[in-house]
Symmetry: C2
Subunit: 187 residues, 2 copies
DNA sequence: TCCAACCTACCGAACGTTAGGCAGGAAAAC
DNA sequence: GTTTTCCTGCCTAACGTTCGGTAGGTTGGA
């Protein structure tokens, strides 16, 4: 348990936060999850705010790596745009979980400052990557790529939120399909 | 205070829930808001779950009236579609608040059953109205109106969520404009 | 006389957090 | 090579606060 306890805590906290939010993240439950006592978490994180900020940062660091890997692996920007909603879909499949960024945006007013600062990271990473890929695919003019990337990110987030409220992944799929039909996403 | 205390509580609870969620809604704070003691709330609502469900139900009942009134007043479906995002925009202007439906979708796993049931009401009302207006405006084929309505609702919700995380209403406006440019919303 | 509306005074549970201690392995001192 | 020191990782036990909720009393108008 010891050498990677910090990582184990981070991963468990992320999963819980994606299901119940930062407010729904309890030290006692989290500790039980990873097999230690609540007080022991303080050996790895100075406070709940610190833990939350670390989880948030790790979250967008991971997605940055994942998105770049996808682009490198396929080498096809259009295919990337087709696959992009899959990252959100997987959260839903995994226990009807939400993107941590969406949860933090909702809980924004209740978050400690350090977490508020990290909230934007995930969106920034997604939007920058989408803008780049949109231009590569020739789907939009470079000038409009940022705005379109933001629109896609926001719309996909909204689709995930809606599907969660129905506990129904197929609603997410249908929404993505509508985004394609309407022209928001390349068809 | 007495005759409309129940209404006062409902309204105050709605406002707090739109800022801090159901979990962030405290009986003591809520009571202080409306000028009574926490225990007195139990004279009007049997439990927090009951209060939450009543707030949620009232929320979508109100929007149903509001949307129908808009259509009747303007008589112009295209103008209605142009005005539609305004209801979400107003929440942001009013203390960076979120649509209650989005908050409940995020908190879904933490909500009492009665509230989970009410969560869908708001979305249903919006989607039904949008589908009707889209057909009236001739913007989509009747067969596709439901799907497009859902897409618009989800996308606008996502735009509100994104703008909230930046505490910046202009981000919402920019996103709506992108939805128009891309063809999701009629231009 | 009665009842709705509100009160005071609690309850048990859960929360984040702290103090202080114990085991054990690595590093330092002899 | 042995002993001592020290640090890491975890523990138990409690802290004060806040939570939703309850019991029972007071008050004022119909």
């Amino acid at each position: 348990m010891s050498t990677n306890a910090r990582e184990t805590i981070l991963a468990a906290a992320r999963k819980t936060a994606q299901a119940h939010g930062y407010g729904g993240l309890s030290y006692r439950d989290l500790a039980a999850d990873v097999g230690i006592k609540a007080a022991s978490i303080y050996h790895h994180f100075a406070s709940k705010a610190d833990l939350g900020a670390a989880v948030a940062r790790r979250y967008w660091e991971d997605i940055a790596v994942e998105l770049d890997a996808m682009l490198e692996k396929t080498g096809d920007p259009l295919e990337c745009l087709r696959l992009y909603p899959g990252t959100f879909r997987r959260s839903l499949e995994d226990g009807n979980r939400l993107c941590l960024c969406s949860f933090m945006s909702a809980e924004y007013a209740n978050l400690p400052e350090a977490m508020q600062r990290e909230t934007q990271g995930f969106a920034d990473v997604n939007i920058a990557w989408l803008a780049k890929v949109l231009v590569m695919a020739g789907a939009v003019k470079p000038k409009e790529s940022e705005a379109r990337a933001r629109a896609i990110f926001a719309a996909v987030s909204g689709a995930q939120l809606y599907a969660r409220s129905r506990s129904d992944v197929s609603q997410f799929d249908a929404l993505i399909e509508s985004y394609r039909t309407s022209g928001l996403l390349p068809a």
